[in-house]
Amino acid sequence: MELLEVKDLTIIFGGLHAVDGFHLSIKKGQLYGLIGPNGAGKTTVFNMLTGVYRPTEGKIFLDGKDITGKKTVEINQAGIARTFQNIRLFKKLSVLDNVKVGLHNQYHYSTLASILRLPSYFKVEEQMNQKALELLKVFDLDQDADTTAENLPYGKQRKLEIARALATGPKLLLLDEPAAGMNPNETLELMKTIRFVRDTFDMTILLIEHDMKLVSGICEELTVLNFGKVLAQGKTADVLNNPEVIKAYLGE
């Protein structure tokens, strides 16, 4: 069954067709890669999927529901969570609190309960702490729970962003260059973690990545974007051996 179905997605920035007639369909539980040279329009696709940009044309369906043109907050609540190419953490909050912000919409108590410290405050906070620590453990961040997010090393910041996105309980996880700035060891570890997340949370993942080792190592299918248009689509091995793709990557 298709979890994400994108048809004819187009966005024009002052005459520039940043993304043009983009289409994609991802099955539930798939690990899918979106690749392409710099400036191809990959991040712009993510921004349209998450409602940061409104597409000029085209439709986006999540689990059969039309989510085109919805607001970012609504789209997250509908089940899409993401990370950012240029990391966007809540810098001054602790690692634990970053994840707890992700849990915000799944746990509830009133403003009054927090100010008066009613029993519901303690009960729900305890549940949130447990859930958040559970998630941090997956990314080997539980030891850093009390660290301020901005003080984490770069690789851990990237992982924390994934943990925070997962905390919102999404159906589809979008990762924008999760391995950027990581050393080969960290990348290898990240690949394992991404696979682990897919398997244990039964997650569907769409990721943008320049690191070909990561892409060929974990993505089952790929779409290649070039100058805003789909250049190739299909099984990872086939796509990577496609002469057109090789040409786009190596240049003429």
Binding site: A81, F90, N105, I115
Partner: protein
């Protein structure tokens, strides 16, 4: 017991703040009661509490929510006038002071919160620093309206005017309650230092408890990264409004406290104008943006400082300005920050950990 041990670092810090406030208040109270305080200083005790509350309220808006407001004295003005009006109106109807004051407090705070909400509703939806401009205008408008407002009472009920006493058209035995630029005279003096300290603590508890909660995290997430907050499903406008309305409500507490410590409440540029709003902002910046304890002590110190420096006569404001600059440098200059970090690190290093570092 286990819960106590597990008490987080932040809540420990909060309790330390409350304890510090209590100790300082106790010392001031004893000094006042035993006559070891100048009458000018003694007269400042309640205003100090009011400005501390106002500074904490503003820090919630500026430091926790990350939105600049230059009109918080305006919210204080609303709380002051609404509550003083009520107390004067009810002076004979409700003779018990603490009941009257409690009702006045609820009313003053409620009105301030409502006005904060109404201002925030359109403005906080916008992205950008529009709040600063709108609150600046709001503060000036409220201050000026309060200075030309006439309200009177007679057997037919309440009469309002923005012109003069005559145009109220009161009956012979009617009473003018708010008299334009002369304000409200004869508000029962229902507040005192003890009430002031209690309200400071209440304000601190409200803000600290809010900050360490689900709502507070959402508010600070918006401050730290709006786009990321949206991406995890945080309703931006809702949480901005919650924070701003609570900040306005707390400023209202300051106003109620302030008004019930005066025989005559007047609205002037000095007490409710933008100079005051900016002064409060100075306290917040000096105490550290987002640092609640810092706001408490910066406000208290800077309100009484001109009084403490009175012996310097003409040089008073000069020295005051120099102190502001020095505190500013100490708090914010990169080299001063680095120096403080170094001292802190040295302080923390136990002989044990130094050994480990060598090995």
């Amino acid at each position: 017991m286990k819960k106590l041990l597990k008490m987080s670092k932040t809540s420990k810090q909060n309790y330390i703040t409350y304890a510090m406030v209590l100790v300082v208040a106790l010392i001031a109270g004893v000094m006042d009661a035993t006559g070891n305080m100048s009458s000018l200083m003694s007269g400042l005790l309640v205003p100090v509490c009011a400005y501390v509350i106002l500074a904490v309220a503003l820090n919630l808006c500026v430091g926790i929510l990350g939105e600049l407001s230059i009109g918080h004295a305006g919210f204080m003005c609303v709380g002051a006038f609404v509550s003083a009006f009520f107390s004067k109106l009810m002076a004979s109807t409700i003779p018990v002071a603490w009941i009257r004051f409690t009702l006045a407090l609820i009313l003053g705070v409620g009105f301030s919160a409502l006005i904060g909400f109404l201002i925030g509703l359109p403005v906080l939806r916008l992205k950008g620093d529009y709040l600063a401009i709108v609150t600046l205008a709001f503060g000036e408008i409220i201050k000026n309206v309060a200075a030309v407002l006439y309200v009177g009472r007679d057997s037919k009920g309440l009469h309002f005017s923005l012109q003069d006493t005559m145009s109220l058209g009161l009956e012979k035995d009617g009473e003018v309650i708010i008299k334009g630029a002369q304000g409200i005279t004869g508000t029962p003096n229902d507040s005192n230092f003890v009430i002031g300290v209690i309200l400071v603590l209440v304000t601190l508890i409200i803000v600290n408890n809010l900050v360490n909660s689900r709502d507070g995290r959402a508010i600070m997430a918006i401050r730290d990264n709006l786009i990321a907050a949206e991406s995890v499903g945080i309703n931006i406008t809702k949480y901005k409004l919650i924070a701003f309305s609570i900040s306005a409500a707390l400023s209202g507490i300051a106003g109620v406290l302030y008004a019930h410590n005066l025989n005559t409440l007047m609205s002037t540029s000095k007490n409710f104008g933008y100079n005051m709003s900016i002064m409060i902002l100075v306290y917040v910046v000096l105490g550290g943006i987002g640092n609640i304890r810092g706001s408490v002590f910066a406000a208290a110190l800077l309100v009484i400082l001109p009084e403490l420096l009175r012996f310097l006569n003409d040089y008073r404001m000069l020295i005051y300005a120099v102190i502001l600059i020095v505190v500013m440098l100490f708090n914010w200059a990169p080299s001063a920050l680095a120096f403080r970090e170094k001292v802190k690190a040295k302080w923390k290093k136990t002989p044990d950990s130094t050994k480990k570092e060598v090995a």
